[in-house]
Assembly symmetry: C2
Homo-oligomer: 244 residues x 2
């Protein structure tokens, strides 16, 4: 991990000796007193932590950044995929910096996926947290699940650039046509959108695009589609070095 997510309390009290993060820092990274690592509070500030003691608590002093990182204005709506795929979508979209991920039960999807421990036992959260730490960010995407695409489309930003990836309906590659400030990307389940889902997308102002004539896996399409939209929104221009 490139950053360790902690709570505001842990920034004061340190980490218990048997905490997985403390063990990782001591044993895997091999940090000693005086060693530094990136730290951050979930959805809050990041900083550079300097270890002040290794036992009993792993304590550290933090030089916090002056202002929080910017959240990217990207919502991704995905037809609920098989759990192994959902884990990758959660991780990679968290790393990309999506603000929100909405999984919908699609007409051509398999409702059995919902019985996975990923959703039943809240394991999904571990994957967005890991993706956020990988990105050296603290901004964890909001993750929701809804019963249909229609439900996912309620309340979207009316002025956002809205794109659905669909090789059958596509009119071209993703290309921004107006100066939008936010983006919404919709991706079907493995078997694609149904006709009524396509009609709902049209009603809500989605254009249809493809990523060329190669069929990418759901997790790859989500990552590539989201990145192409962020690049065209020029969301990456406020770049600054990590911790800077």
């Amino acid at each position: 991990m490139n950053l360790v997510l902690i709570t505001a309390e842990e920034a004061e009290s340190g980490l218990p000796p048997d905490d997985a993060r403390a063990r990782h820092l001591r044993e895997t990274v091999g940090l000693a007193i005086g060693g530094t690592f990136h730290v951050g509070v979930e959805n809050g500030l990041r900083g550079i932590a300097t270890i002040t003691s290794l036992a009993p608590q792993l304590t550290f002093a933090v030089a916090w950044e002056k202002s929080p990182q910017t959240r990217h204005p990207l919502t991704v709506i995905v037809g609920l995929p098989r759990p192994q795929t959902a884990k990758k979508v959660l991780h990679d979209l968290a790393s990309l910096g999506a603000a929100q991920i909405i999984f919908f039960e699609s007409e051509k999807g398999d409702p059995g996926y919902l019985t996975s421990s990923l959703w039943k036992d809240g394991e999904w959260r571990e994957h967005v947290l890991k993706g956020t730490e990988q990105a050296c960010s603290t901004l964890v995407p909001k993750v929701t699940r809804v019963g249909s695409l229609a439900e996912a489309l309620i309340g979207l930003d009316a002025n956002a650039w809205k794109l659905a990836l669909d090789p059958y309906e596509a009119t071209g590659a993703p290309e921004i046509s107006s100066p939008a400030k936010a983006a919404v990307l919709a991706i079907g389940p493995e078997r694609g959108f149904s006709d009524s889902e396509r009609a709902a997308l049209r009603t809500h102002g989605f254009a249809f695009a493809h990523l060329g004539d190669r069929i990418l896996r759901v997790e790859a399409a989500a990552l590539v589609g989201g990145a192409l939209m962020l690049a065209q929104l020029r969301a990456w221009e406020k770049h600054r070095p990590v911790g800077g």
Copy 2:
């Protein structure tokens, strides 16, 4: 898999009954006589196969496409990553349709990775083939390994758009500046490029770009970087439906 890669001989003779592809079509997909699937010859034509017998050989008649799919003019140079990461890079860049993938032994990399069965036993090939089949393509990237970045840079297209992903040296997000017809993307190992590798990239006309202020995994950076370059080359505009 979205397409089954076969040899020109197998197109005539069919597949032996215990062949993994024959079993997949019969048992997993559940195809019977008259059932259809996408088929293609490695680096050749694709077609729609209709099953004519299930035993003893699985035979099929193929309606071949009229002209081959276009190969994307993208070369990706990657610092040799750990084998688990290399497998994903091989799969995902094959799906994206890169023409060539060059792995180099980097100054900050771990030469121990070369002893993996992925490279020793040629297992790497299985991952590019799977990625190509996922993409419903027959165009398998050429994969090579070289001993240094300097060796990887020999003989590159002088007129290609050349970009290295490096958050420390970057001057902006990937943006094409001249009407190039081909692209070369360079990605360091997990610990990044060394100073002498950066100097070699500059000498060979590479610009440095970032993908925002989130740190992506090597496999995600390769996929996103490659896709952004293909999109800006307008390589996806000659899109046509699969088998069309």
